[in-house]
């Protein structure tokens, strides 16, 4: 979620269950990597500890359940740029760009900046209008992470929200499991 989107979202993203989740394959590959690093260090006469440290962390999972109330930053053509603060498991400034692709569908780019990192995602959702409110509902995939969340992954998070048509204020809700 790049800073080029001129909006931020209020809310939080998910309950951080910092329960380390270490799949067997990852454990095996981590062990193999450590062994390889030790062997390399021995061969080249360097310290093994320094070679193994940055990539040894096991993946963690997080049950996201975050929502945000956003306000319109600007709109251009079929694109709404919204900004606010996420509340929930991630929390932090949130930026949402909604792109209306047809009378019934939208795509979205989401960026959230929780403490220590960032997460970007893209979403596809159906869209419908009912009087003063429009609603959207679909799925969101994480496309990029930074800092603490540099390895963030999720492919089918629930993504939904509403648009107040009178002022383009948006509420957005994201839920589901991500790893990082």
């Amino acid at each position: 979620m790049g800073r080029d989107i001129n909006s931020h979202m209020e809310g939080s993203m998910g309950n951080k269950s910092l329960r380390p989740r270490t799949p067997a394959r990852l454990r095996i590959s981590s062990a193999a990597f450590a062994l390889g690093a030790v062997a390399t260090a021995v061969a080249f006469g360097t310290g093994a500890a320094g070679a193994a440290s940055p990539h040894a962390r096991a993946a963690r999972s997080l049950n996201l359940n975050d929502s945000a109330k956003l306000h319109l930053q600007n709109k251009h053509g079929l694109v709404l740029k919204e900004t606010g603060t996420a509340k929930g498991s991630l929390g932090g400034p949130l930026y949402l760009q909604l792109d209306v692709t047809s009378t019934r569908s939208v795509t979205a780019q989401v960026q959230v900046y929780p403490k220590g990192g960032s997460i970007s995602g893209s979403a596809k959702a159906s869209y419908s209008v009912a009087g003063s409110t429009a609603t959207f509902s679909g799925t969101l995939a994480i496309t990029k992470g930074g800092g603490t969340y540099s390895k963030a992954k999720a492919s089918a998070l629930s993504f939904s929200g509403t648009i107040q048509r009178s002022n383009d204020a948006v509420t957005v809700h994201v839920s589901g499991k991500m790893s990082y």
Partner: protein, 259 residues
């Protein structure tokens, strides 16, 4: 040729006459944007005139599918902030619905089957935001008929996603309007209507006071396709025939920037 064959042929010809002489319908479509400015909120005007190849009365219209250009912005419009319920419209007329549900207005000419060929105006057609159907926007049309057709008619059009060069399809089934009780339906000769903020006033509460304002219309795309903004409409008639009519709104002239 035997007498029997001649009689059979004559019967066939006579039997064919009413059907073979049946008029085919012709339709001209006209569309407009006011203002016609790229990216701007606009009022869409559309109208059609139905004729007959024989000069007689066209078959009553049963269905219109109006396809509108791609890239029109239906999302940022504030048209139709309230929903008008069809039953309220039938029971109370326009007073049964919020002014914030109005989308546009128009008029129509109809001809009764026993008419003199001059057409009779239905001066008041209102377009209103109806309850959505399957997530699609629904446009309610309210026609307030006066002499010789005393009837208040409500019918609905559903905005379906478009295909190809078209971004939306207003799919409308037209009810048959009886000329007299149990009589044949009237034929629609022409319709003019708008969807957009022109001549509409919405209301909102500001510091406890009700304030009128003009809603934001559907916005035009930022780019105009080659040849203008295309519209296409398919008309279906009671006799089963279908006619497709097309029209394009010309691209607006480029805006001159003063240095």
């Amino acid at each position: 040729m035997s007498r029997a064959r001649i009689i059979t042929l004559a019967l066939l010809v006579l039997g064919c006459l009413p059907a073979c002489a049946q008029a085919a319908q012709t339709v001209t479509l006209h569309t407009s944007f006011t203002p016609d400015r790229l990216g701007a909120s606009t009022t869409i005007g559309f109208g059609f005139t139905i004729g007959s190849t024989t000069g007689g009365l066209p078959s009553p219209l049963t269905h219109v599918s109006l396809r509108m250009p791609k890239g029109m912005n239906y999302v940022t419009t504030t048209l139709g902030l309230a929903i008008c319920k069809p039953e309220a419209l039938v029971a109370k007329g326009l007073s049964g619905c919020s002014p914030n549900s109005r989308l546009g207005y128009g008029s129509a000419f109809v001809e009764v089957p026993f008419g003199q060929g001059s057409g009779r105006e239905i001066p008041e057609i209102e377009a209103l935001m109806g309850p959505p159907h399957d997530g699609n926007i629904v446009v309610l049309f309210y026609a307030n008929g006066l002499a010789p057709v005393y009837a208040q008619i409500v019918f609905a059009g559903e905005l379906l996603p478009g295909e190809g060069a078209f971004g939306g399809n207003l799919d409308t089934t037209i009810p048959q309007i009886p000329s007299v009780t149990n009589g044949p339906p009237v034929s629609i000769i022409s319709v003019q209507s708008t969807i957009g903020p022109s001549h509409l006033t919405y209301y909102k509460h500001v510091h406890g006071k009700l304030v009128g304002y003009k809603p934001q219309g559907i916005s035009l795309p930022l780019k105009c396709p080659h040849g203008g903004f295309p519209f296409s409409a398919q008309f279906t008639f009671l006799d089963g025939s279908q006619v497709i009519a097309t029209h394009s709104v010309p691209c607006p002239p480029p805006v001159r920037r003063h240095k």
